[in-house]
């Protein structure tokens, strides 16, 4: 096949957005190398028993032959029977950690003769290229775009990182045990928001990738890689993979009327029930690819002559989050869990015109107690509040 790709490449016109191509594993290596000239290339790799997103320079760092077994409160890597590079779902990291970093200096200040002056922090010097972005994650990025760029005051740091990012998406061939993107209409097929999207085609005699182009930059890059045009059989193979993944979703969440349901259930007894299990550790918000909340810390040096403001991820599960003079607004665990799920699945729709949940399942997998957003939403639905504010008897 390598011979064939080389000859086809020279014979065809430069790839356009409409083009579907097939590239080999070697070409994927070439893709990483080509991106590395202009970008900090980030992709999945195995680290401490989990697949995380880190800087990569070589194909061998990708998690070939690994799959992740996930269930509520459980995550374990296992060997696959094949060498699939993207044969896992999603791990504890999301791309949020690069576009909306966990810790970021917003500005620095310095005392001077006039009092003090403030200068914005120097921007991130490197542009990011993401390899292996899943459909749910593309949706999560689009949601954070609405939060950080779509509001009247844009987050200039986020906007710059986002505009510069190059995205190589991957269609999921394996649904995780806690995935429910099909319910949220955020997957498993990557439909837009990428520069290139790969579908890993694995068979007895083949290990290559169908490539769809999502942008001119993607087309230009593909043009520099050895590739051949995709056949009808390749395109059919992709469709079969997506259909199979869709049929194997680990979980489901009924979204019909979810906004009204949750917004009319602030006094539901289920909040106390879940609070009895919830540790309010905030893991769910840290792993969630859409949660955007932050706090700020003001520091000054020992001389008091320089100061800075640092922004850090925060979670609505902490007591401090809602503190106002005299006490926190959300003292109880039940009010904090209610805030989280009501924000995600309901209030987000009012705020940003989209659900705040993409069905990636991370919050379910990484909850130490295995509390499951789909199960909690279903419990509220099973026993809704009456108009009078009480609950129906029974279910």
């Amino acid at each position: 096949m390598p011979d064939e790709t080389a000859s086809v490449q020279t014979a065809t016109a430069p790839p356009s957005k409409a083009m579907k191509a097939v590239i080999s594993c070697d070409a994927l290596q070439a893709l990483i190398a080509a991106l590395a000239a202009d970008y900090l290339v980030l992709g999945p790799t195995v680290r401490d028993g989990a697949i995380v997103y880190e800087e990569i320079s070589d194909l061998s760092q990708l998690p070939a032959g690994w799959k992740d077994k996930q269930d509520a409160g459980k995550y374990r890597l296992e060997r696959r029977e094949d060498d699939a590079i993207f044969g896992f779902a999603v791990g504890p990291h999301s791309w949020k950690r690069f576009l909306h970093p966990p810790v970021e200096t917003l500005w620095t200040g310095r005392r001077d003769n006039d009092g003090f002056s403030i200068a914005p922090a120097a921007g991130e010097p490197r542009k990011f290229a993401f390899i292996g972005v899943r459909s749910c994650e593309l949706h999560a990025i689009a949601i954070q775009d609405k939060v950080f760029i779509g509001s009247p005051y844009a987050d200039v740091g986020y906007r710059a990182r986002r505009q510069d990012a190059f995205i190589v998406a991957v269609n999921c061939a394996e649904a995780g045990g806690t995935c429910f993107c099909a319910s949220m209409e955020t997957g498993p097929e990557a439909k837009n928001g990428f520069d290139l999207v790969l579908t890993e085609l694995l068979g007895e005699a083949r290990h290559d990738f169908l490539v769809d182009v999502g942008s001119d930059a993607g087309a230009a890059l593909l043009g520099r890689l050895p590739h051949r045009s995709a056949s009808d059989a390749d395109v059919a193979a992709k469709a079969a993979i997506i259909a199979q993944t869709r049929a194997r979703m680990g979980r489901a969440l009924e979204t019909d009327g979810i906004k009204e349901l949750l917004q009319s259930s602030p006094n539901h007894q289920r909040w106390d029930d879940v609070a009895a299990r919830c540790l309010t550790c905030g893991n769910c918000t840290m792993v969630c690819p859409t949660c955007f909340c932050t706090t700020v810390e003001d520091h000054s040096d020992l001389t008091g002559n320089t100061a800075e403001r640092v922004r850090k991820w925060d979670s609505c599960f902490t007591l401090d989050f809602s503190y106002i003079h005299g006490g926190s607004v959300r003292e109880t665990g039940s009010s904090r869990y209610r805030q989280w799920i009501t924000h995600k699945l309901a209030n987000w729709i009012d705020q940003f015109g989209t659900s705040g949940c993409v069905g990636c399942g991370r919050c379910i997998t990484w909850c130490p107690l295995g509390i499951d957003i789909t199960e909690e939403a279903a419990a509220i639905r099973a026993n809704p509040m009456t108009a009078a504010g009480g609950q129906h008897e029974g279910t």
Binding site: L106, W107, G109, R111, D114, G115, F116, S117, I118, A119, P120, D145, V147, F148, I149, G150, S151, P152, Y153, A154, D155, V156, R159, R162, Q163, D164, A165, F166, I167, S215, Q263, P266, C293, T294, T295, V296, D298, H299, S300, G304, A307, R309, R311, D314, C316, F321, S322, Y323, I324, H325, V329, E331, S335, Q339, T342, H343, A346, N347, D350, Q351
Partner: protein, 289 residues
């Protein structure tokens, strides 16, 4: 890579550059109001002072210590300064109340929604304030007094804990001497010299004279006080969409990005702080929202 959408191109109304970066202002005047409360007049060290509307707030930054949300308490007709009345309750507010004349202070803003003083023209105005809640209402009071003929009856109902911690005492006395408006002050705990009302501020509502069918009520104070004030206004016959409250929530960014100020689907920093009661009535009834 992505293309610039219409949403992205939409720029903030007043701010330019990085909305996280404070501008430097200079403290021009300080007035001690109460043992723990001062009023600062501050002017930009460079360039014009941005315009604001009654009810809006700024984020004030004390160098190296922190940044807090503080309402603008001055007169909008003055285009030179921002006036802020600050109570010392913690690290950042202490640093701000300890500043000297000539000191530098960081400012981001103005932010948030305003009291509907223009929409309220032609109606009776009932202003209900508890304690420091009078500060964000003072620009509205200045406005309605300066444009007195455009409004019907005006009632200012103010509650404070003790006679000795009465904010803006001299000004209240001056407003009270104005026969064209009615000013009622009540204290929770009277001392021997107090000859005025004793009790909570919502109790004054029942006694105030206004046309409930054509009244706009502006309310600011502790949440519990606002709860009772709304009930009293509703009992008096004021419609929920004629009642406006200024809400308070933890704020870190003031620009809709940090998530801290959420009040149900609303962000108090951008959908508030001034909110029309009918739009938040269902949230207002819920504890710990």
């Amino acid at each position: 890579m992505f293309t610039e959408s219409a949403e992205m191109a939409r720029m903030p109304p007043a701010a330019s550059g990085d909305p996280f970066v404070p501008r430097i202002y200079c403290v021009d005047r300080i007035r001690r109001e109460l043992s723990d409360t001062v009023t600062l007049e501050i002017t930009p060290s460079q360039g014009p002072r941005p315009r604001y509307a009654p009810g809006q707030f700024n984020m004030l930054y004390a160098f190296g210590v922190g940044e807090v949300a503080i309402s603008i308490s001055g007169d909008c007709a003055d285009d030179r300064t921002f006036v802020h009345t600050v109570r010392d309750v913690g690290a950042a507010s202490r640093a701000i109340t300890s500043l000297d004349v000539g000191a530098a202070i960081g400012v981001r803003g103005p932010f948030g929604t305003a009291w509907p003083v223009t929409d309220a023209e032609g109606s009776d105005i009932v202003i209900v304030a508890g304690g420091l809640g009078l500060a964000p209402l003072r620009p509205a009071i200045y406005h309605v007094l300066a444009n007195r003929s455009r409004y019907g009856r005006i009632a200012i109902l103010f509650g404070t804990r003790h006679p000795q911690d009465m904010l803006y005492r001299d000004e209240l006395a001056a407003w009270r001497r104005n026969l064209d408006i009615s000013v009622e002050v009540t204290v929770d705990h009277a001392d021997r010299d107090w000859r005025g009302n004793v009790g909570v501020v919502p109790a004054l509502i029942a006694r105030a004279s206004f046309d409930p069918h054509d009244t706009v009520a502006l309310v600011c104070g502790p949440e519990i006080m606002m709860r009772f004030a709304v009930n009293a206004l509703r009992d008096a016959g004021v419609a929920p969409d004629h009642i406006h409250l200024s809400m308070e929530r933890n704020m870190k960014c003031a620009i809709g990005l940090c998530g801290h100020c959420q009040f149900g689907p609303q962000f108090v920093c951008k959908d508030g702080p001034v909110m029309r009661f009918d739009r938040i009535a269902s949230l207002f009834a819920v504890r710990e929202i």
